[in-house]
Subunit: 370 residues, 4 copies
């Protein structure tokens, strides 16, 4: 059951609906201006009669909280001062792995200068072989955070286990779940309480629906700030490392209100293919990109063959701007979230004042229906 | 062995190289200004010494004739007055199946008006079920050709069997091999002698290399005019009909000199996804698109759910133009081939005159090396 | 609509049902003792009232004629004196390609001696590369047929095109459709009128349902004698040439009445894996196997790495016998069809006599219901 | 580098080789009677000259410790009194999830009675949806262990996170890593120190090589007792839940010395297909099976459609016995490990005595070469 609230409905109205569902034995969650009964609950007619309720609809998708219908206007996820989702397209860039202070700082400054709004870099690296470089660990987190501060960029990095969530969240602004962990449900549950937004990468053989169910885990466990990421799937084709599934972009945009990024670096595995596919992803409707950039790809400890040089990255960013303009979108400007934040603050204050006025006037609920 | 000829080499020089390879027991083919020994032949040193030879290289790819190295500048395929390959991007559009005179004519005029340069439409339809509409057959060919003439568009249509090649070639300007026939070698061989260019669609589970080998069949059997087409591959994902593999576009452009089209209609199977993926394909470097357009998709006898209306198609064409301009390309203008044809004519006349002069002067070969 | 006839129903009863369906605008086909309305037709109640009708059921599967319900007892396909389908398991064996009189004769005698009941061998070879050995053509057919006669084995060989069906049917007892042609509908239609049974191989990315639809093509076009063959599908796994899908065996046995063979040679691509997977396939319920055997695999012109030596094949046959006995099945003995044929002859004569008696007694139909 | 030791080599000889490799900067591990340099180390000639060394070979596979060459005779993993690996085939059976004391006890007694040697049952269930039954947690572990004791069966159950390894290892005899965690490297590392053997399931899209690399993680982190399990891969086919890849059985047996189980329950997803595929897996060479059995599958909280009834399971076990006998194998008898254990004890005592004698006689090394 999906209960949409009136625009003017107050928080007391919302709580009222939640209570009614709970009273009927159901489990209700609030997402934006909707209340979702993820199970059982009060009847359609009863809910429809409550104050502030705009509509009550059946809600048959299994991904109750992240389904598009719950928030048709889309979710905007704040990563520090950056907003992911909406008209502005956010590019995260940086090295596959944090290797040294110099390397990550050089990368950070380069990508910031070219217009990236987030710095990526791995401190804990999941590697197929136990004998490959596994990342610098916490030292890597420190170097990444330091480089992010120096370049004025919030940082995104991978967290591998539930127990490391708190540690990583102490350094990172956006917590990445890698493709191999997309159905690591213990990790997803822990991220529900992480207090930081989550970047959830699709697995190599994860269906779109399974990806949404994994996002649902995070949201159902308390964290509404999830960003999805298509990064290539595994097929019979061997000429590229993965097959980037750009079909997934419009499909996801229709099925969910969560923002969708694309990772053309892993999606292709080849430097010369990153730019064309990055632009293609943007044109297909992605809300952002995540791109591997290394000051000297040939010396990279991992994923060198798919890393852009700073020069190639800058050139890609130039190309992206034009294509986005044609789609009535733009690259996110620096500090672009501040204005939005102010608007939201005002909205919240107005709402609070109106709620108070309602209460004082003793007419709460009634006025919403006139 | 790949023998590149000097720019100024004459046809007698080329024949000389072919003869030298044949004398060594090899099998030589001429593609553009290269001679390829698809097997055996004379030694590297011997060939390098012949008149007009610029370089002799080993040529290890299995797709001897369609490998990029053979013609680094790329192949331009003429479809009537339309040129596929090069800076200009060609859009083929029309109904999945020819259903009636009115339907195909209406579609043809609509897509021509919106800037399509080729009319597509199926007369022989390969259908999974023997009980589904199988196409109008030769009557469909007639109606398609008639509509093409009315709209001023060359037509592309599918040919299903080797024995029908001559019949279909009597009506069509471009002969399509469908995904299910990509390894129908009897058909590919017959198309080698079709006298019309070929549009070869990748199969649902055809690797990039297999696609190139199938193209090699057509070229090796005498027809150099092959256009490739990515149309979606079969993966585990079920939310779309196929998974459009845009990675294949830059991969193919690097591996082969043949033009590459993309079919976002079959590649997605859903009307609302055709435009974003069509634009993405263009940005990723496709040399053209093939798109299903039906005057009234809801009444279509096949593939209605993935067919654009004329209105949506026109709007897509508008969007494409801008994105292509940013990539320093453009939609092919009407009659755009005429100028190119004139240039090629002049080139050929000049070459012939110079050859004649060489012969008269008895200095053929020598002058090329100074 | 699926109309099952009484055991005692006569051919006139069957014709009556067919006529009733046709009269209602439907298209009726007879398969065994069922009549299937592949489209439209008379109503359930009307049909149920006709003489000799045991039951009338809805028949929702898209593969109308090959669905299991149509012939729950299973179809037995005669290939010369060999019966495929039923308790006895038939093994076809022989070289990938017919290479010479000596090679195919040696292979034929070896596999016959080891208990194979059919001789396989390719005269027309579909090869990925135009430069690979393409088979001996009609000469190969002659050599194959000759070897089959010498060894006392009916022969199975691949036919590549509709136009070659008559030629190949002149030599072969069983016409093979290769994996790449599973949706070559022109070929399937032609095989409907071939007058010889058909071995239809599943394609590399053909779903079970698509395979059944392709079989439906052959049957709907007039040829009820189709044998299916699982030969490995294409997946992400690269350690074997294909992934043999033994799940398909019980799935197919439940969905269709057609016999199901398995090809462990292509299904694995590796000699050392053929025997374990062949036995596994038999245990999983396959009605037969098709196995590549070459006198000297190392000299084979194609598929050497997956061909068994005669010694390995004989050893496999020994192993198979025991496993089949445990499943209450057995390897088909030589000439095993003769007894069955005699039983069928008697059945037919009895049926004919009873029909005649019915007619004379003027009680046809009535007596069947008592 | 792979150093095989003489049969008679003592532990001091082994240590000597390890030291020599370490002295050369390499990293050496002992597996059975081999020493593997997983990186760098002393030269081939130097090592070959050491006492007790039988041979020194290059060792190019990336899965250094689990590659077949390291232990050509195969690894036998002890799970309580049960030995997995070797001539005897071990069947693990039980419910998908532990649901109640009664359910798991009933299942345990039934499968033990039918010849299962291990009891399976999930206490922590990874579920695609956060709203599905997630298992009873530690209570489930207690009930499982209790039922195992009652039935005389060691128990195998899934562990989802590194932090729960110690908890689960307190109850379970064999720790299962589920398909979704096959590349959860934090978990794999933790299992290296678990002190209990590990059952590692192949992921839905894990290649054979990746599976071996994941096993390598566990072994490299200190735990040599790893059992692999094929449980079906994800393909385009939708008629079954997964595609059971029986090719993987002989492939794995050739590439690794670790035992290989097959899970036909998940591999097919359908009760009626479990038995044929279980027998097929055994015949293809699996060292064991893991099968879902539920007293009342229709009431199961998870995976009911693929669970066998106790009756079907007993019937399958009867069928398996015969097929295994034909392959010169057998179902593991109860307590079958005791004899092996005694043999190993004797071996170890003899070895120790001989080592001691060597040391006293001052002739260690020399005598091994005579």
């Amino acid at each position: 059951m999906l209960v949409r609230m009136d625009e003017g409905a107050g928080s007391a109205d919302v709580e009222n609906v939640v209570r009614a569902i709970a009273a009927g034995g159901g489990d209700a969650r609030v997402v934006g201006s909707s209340v979702v009964a993820v199970s059982g609950g009060a009847g359609e007619r009863e809910l429809a009669g409550l104050a502030g309720v705009a509509s009550v609809e059946p809600h048959a998708v299994p991904y109750k909280l992240v389904g598009r219908a719950v928030r048709p206007e889309g979710t905007r996820v704040r990563v520090g001062p950056v907003v992911v989702g909406g008209r502005e397209v956010v590019v995260a860039a940086g090295p596959c792995a944090v290797e040294s202070r110099g390397q990550v700082l050089e990368a950070a400054l380069a990508v910031a200068g070219a217009g990236a709004r987030l710095l990526r870099g791995g401190a804990y690296k999941p590697r197929t072989s136990p004998y490959s470089f596994q990342g610098l660990g916490e030292e890597g987190l420190e170097l990444l955070a330091e480089a992010g501060r120096a370049a004025g960029l919030p940082v995104v990095t991978e967290v591998l286990t539930a127990e490391e969530v708190a540690l990583v969240a102490g350094y990172a602004d956006l917590l990445q779940v890698g493709a191999r962990n997309v159905q690591n449900f213990a990790l997803l549950k822990a991220l529900g309480a992480a207090g930081k937004p989550v970047l959830l990468k699709r697995g190599m053989s994860t269906t779109v629906e399974e990806l949404l169910m994994s996002a649902e885990y995070v949201v159902a466990h308390g964290n509404p700030d999830v960003i999805l990421c298509e990064r290539g799937i595994r097929t019979f084709e061997t000429s590229t490392r993965n097959t980037l599934d750009l079909n997934a972009v419009p499909v996801l945009k229709r099925l969910t209100h969560l923002p969708v990024l694309v990772d053309p670096s892993h999606g292709t595995g080849r430097r010369d293919m990153v730019s064309p596919l990055a632009k293609a992803a943007a044109v297909a409707g992605a809300d952002g990109l995540i791109i591997e950039v290394h000051p000297r790809p040939d010396e990279a400890l991992s994923d060198g063959p798919q890393s852009l040089t700073p020069g190639l990255f800058a050139s890609l960013m130039g190309g992206l701007a034009g294509h986005l303009a044609l789609e009535n979108r733009s690259l996110a400007p620096p500090g672009g979230a501040r204005r939005e934040q102010r608007i939201d603050d005002i909205d919240r204050q107005v709402r609070r004042l109106l709620d108070e006025r309602d209460e004082l006037a003793g007419v709460r609920g009634d006025c919403h229906s006139c």
